[in-house]
């Protein structure tokens, strides 16, 4: 099994530790991982702002970089969802379809493909789990609170395998943090208010760390935490799953 490692543009630049942890964890789990060096962006920032018609080049680049792998894995639910929903090509639609079917967010890859049952991870902290909306409602990483359907949570199941980790219960299980791509700029006031309220939920329930399968949410929450000189930290879920003493 050869996996193409898809590291979203902003993760590459701002959160290389999460990318390294993804690579290391997959290697620990005996997966052959290759990082195609010419990759850039999935095109979501443009598309969500209404400029999907400008993403042709992005799409082609993605296809060039990620054709031929058994799976493509990324530590970002949002970018994976964008590829799944919107990767198309006039030139190589067949290849685009294969990629759409084989691209996985890390948590779902560990759960559904590798079927991980135990991890040698230690993270002795109180952790609040923030569901990214694209991970939750797009990729169905967990049951959505709106639906009358059986409960499950792939990230929670993995976190339960981590030694010493204590999950805190939140008042609002799966409320959006307000990042929303261009929304965080265009609707700055609402975006920040939503972010502050998410932070408060984690704070008042005693979290030391906020984790998520999406660094875009965490980047937004971290910006708010830092501005308010909070001691609470953000950490990508893969850094927890890869953590040792």
């Amino acid at each position: 099994m050869t996996v193409g490692l898809f590291i979203p543009c902003y993760v590459n630049q701002f959160y290389p530790d999460a990318a390294k942890a993804t690579l290391q964890l997959l290697k620990k789990l005996k997966v052959d991982v290759i990082y195609p060096p010419k990759q850039t962006c999935c095109g979501q920032p443009m598309a969500n702002a209404g400029f999907e018609h400008l993403t042709t080049g992005c799409n082609q680049l993605f296809i060039d970089n990620f054709s031929g792998f058994d799976y493509i894995v990324a530590p970002s639910a949002s970018c994976v969802l964008h590829i799944k929903d919107h990767l198309h090509s006039d030139k190589n639609e067949d290849q685009a379809a294969i990629i759409r079917a084989n691209v996985f967010e890390l948590v779902e890859f560990l759960t559904d493909i590798l079927k991980v049952e135990k991890l040698d991870a230690v993270f002795p902290h109180k952790v609040g789990l923030h569901h990214s909306c694209h991970g939750l409602r797009g990729l169905h990483l967990a049951q959505m609170s709106e639906l009358n359907a059986p409960l499950f949570s792939k990230p929670q199941r993995l976190l339960n395998m981590v030694q010493g980790l204590e999950q805190v219960d939140l008042d609002r299980l799966d409320e959006c943090c307000g990042f929303g791509g261009s929304f965080c700029i265009a609707e700055e006031a609402v975006s920040v208010k939503m972010g502050k309220d998410r932070v408060t939920d984690h704070t008042k329930n005693g979290a030391e760390y906020i984790t998520s399968s999406d660094l875009s949410c965490l980047m937004h929450l971290e910006g708010i935490l830092h501005r308010n000189k909070s001691s609470i930290k953000i950490v990508h879920i893969v850094e927890i799953l890869n953590a040792t003493v």
């Binding site: 590291i7 543009c9 902003y10 993760v11 590459n12 630049q13 701002f14 959160y15 290389p16 990318a19 990082y35 850039t40 962006c41 443009m46 598309a47 702002a49 209404g50 400029f51 018609h53 400008l54 993403t55 042709t56 080049g57 992005c58 799409n59 082609q60 680049l61 909306c133 409602r137 797009g138 959505m144 609170s145 709106e146 639906l147 009358n148 409320e175 307000g178 990042f179 929303g180 791509g181 261009s182 929304f183 700029i185 265009a186 609707e187 700055e188 006031a189 609402v190 975006s191 920040v192 208010k193 939503m194 972010g195 309220d197 980047m219 971290e222 910006g223 708010i224 830092h226 501005r227």
Partner: protein, 463 residues
């Protein structure tokens, strides 16, 4: 009517958010209703099947609207109800006026009609010497404050009880400082009771119109719509052409979904069926298009016409809860308003599909399973292509900067990372950068993952 046309959603929301305590209250009140909705829906094992059935029935309706409308019209006429067709707001208002004028009526009571708000009926009739009183309490409060409703089910949810007390003091002569909801409701009730007894005409909206029988159903909790209708000699109903359901038995599905979705109640207190006029009474029903057939012709957006106006998408929407309904500057606010409004006036409402994080909660609570967040995404594409993105003021200036990251630049910039750092709008630490206003920048690490990976690979090779 108080106007807010000069500001876009982002600017109006910013104003709303300034009063943090009030926003928290507003958010909490609507979240409480969302929780009640969750509880009510989870008590019914077949909830998701009901949603699916309702969605399919509505698909059938909007796919066969022509036939159902004609069937409904024929049955209405058979029942002795006079039927009118209005292509737009102007025609609708003129029809109402002509009905009232023929009977020399100068005062009318109105309840549960967002459509007539959309049509600006009150203002139209006022200019022609006819006074309209909104009898639903929330709508009445909004009317005396000369403000449109901020929510389709809870018209004055954005107002604090103290504000309502002040309005009542000014308009109904209550004691200054009185803000007890029960006492205020009693005052309004007494005042409205007198209005009901003296008005000869009553207009209501329609929740469901049954094609098979020619009856229509109005769902309320206060019973004001009923009282107006029962005491009037002229009863008028205005409905959008999408409000049809094929058969009476389908009400069993829709009535179960509507109140649970709207407020978490098993059913509304009153589900009143109106079919034929009493002796000596006239009944009129106006079928209004006002852009609905245009929306029907938009393949990506036609499903928005399935909406049964429960307001669940507003209650669950975090953007709505934190920005208030009036920030949407459209009669129907919230997520559903944001996919309906661009059809009515794309230029004026270009900002609304962008007033969302696309979190998708709206689509999950929708009792007729409208893919609201997908439609928001699709409206963005349409609005940009039609050249209206510039009309959403903050969007054009701020979000467009974000989208400068065109793939061509990425591909040719060689070091994509360097490019990225320079172009991402929130990279700049200054007051013109909206990210930095209330958030710190991410701390830039010494090397990117790509740089680390290349270096490591070279080291691996050396070993």
């Amino acid at each position: 009517m108080k106007q807010s046309q000069n500001k876009d959603h982002a600017a109006l929301a910013e104003d709303f958010i300034k009063d943090n305590e009030h926003v928290n209250w507003h958010d909490g009140a609507l979240w409480y209703i969302r929780e009640k909705r969750d509880l009510a829906s989870k008590q019914i094992p077949e909830w998701e099947a009901l949603r699916e059935a309702a969605s399919k029935i509505k698909s059938n309706v909007i796919s066969n609207l022509h036939e159902y409308l004609l069937q409904f019209e024929a049955n209405l006429q058979k029942n002795g109800v006079k039927v009118y067709w209005a292509a737009d707001a102007e025609e609708h208002n003129a029809i109402v006026y002509s009905i009232l004028k023929a009977k020399e009526i100068t005062e009318m009571v109105k309840s549960k009609s967002m459509l007539t708000e959309e049509c600006g009926l009150n203002e139209y009739l006022f200019e022609r010497g006819i006074e309209v009183i909104n009898s639903d309490l929330g709508e009445y409060i909004q009317q005396i404050d000369n403000e449109p409703p901020s929510h389709i089910v809870l018209p004055c949810i954005h107002k604090r009880k103290e504000e309502i007390g002040e309005l009542f003091h000014k308009h109904l002569g209550t004691e200054k400082g009185l803000s007890d909801p029960t006492l205020l409701t009693r005052v309004a009730r007494k005042h409205l009771r007198n209005i009901f007894l003296t008005r000869r005409a009553a207009l209501t909206g329609v929740n469901f119109a049954v094609a098979e029988t020619g009856e229509y159903v109005v769902c309320t909790n206060e019973g004001n719509a009923d009282m107006g209708a029962h005491l009037s000699e002229v009863q008028i109903a205005s409905m959008g052409i999408e409000k049809l359901i094929p058969q009476k038995m389908h009400l069993a599905i829709f009535l179960r979904l509507l109140a649970r979705s709207a407020t978490g109640q098993p059913i509304t207190i009153y589900s009143s069926h109106y079919k034929r006029p009493r002796e000596g009474q006239e009944m009129h029903l106006i079928l209004v298009d006002a852009g609905r057939t245009r929306q029907l012709g938009r393949a990506d957006f036609r499903d928005s016409l399935k909406c049964i106006k429960c307001g669940a998408c507003m209650n669950t929407c975090p953007v709505y809860r934190k920005s208030g309904g009036l920030s949407y500057h459209n009669t129907i606010s919230g997520p559903i308003g944001a996919i309906l409004a661009p059809n009515l006036n794309m230029k004026q409402h270009a900002d609304l599909p962008f007033a969302s994080t696309l979190c998708g909660s709206c689509s999950n609570v929708c009792p007729v399973k409208i893919n609201i967040h997908d439609q928001l995404y699709k409206w963005r594409q349409v609005i940009v292509k039609e050249g209206y993105a510039g009309n959403a003021k903050s969007l054009s200036m701020k979000a467009m900067a974000w989208t400068l990251s065109s793939p061509g630049n990425f591909a040719t910039a060689g070091k994509a990372g360097r490019w990225f750092l320079h172009k991402l709008p929130f990279i700049v630490n200054n007051k013109f950068n909206p990210w930095y206003k209330q958030r710190e920048m991410p701390e830039g690490p010494k090397e990117s993952f790509a740089e680390w990976y290349t270096k490591n690979k070279e080291n691996d090779k050396k070993e």
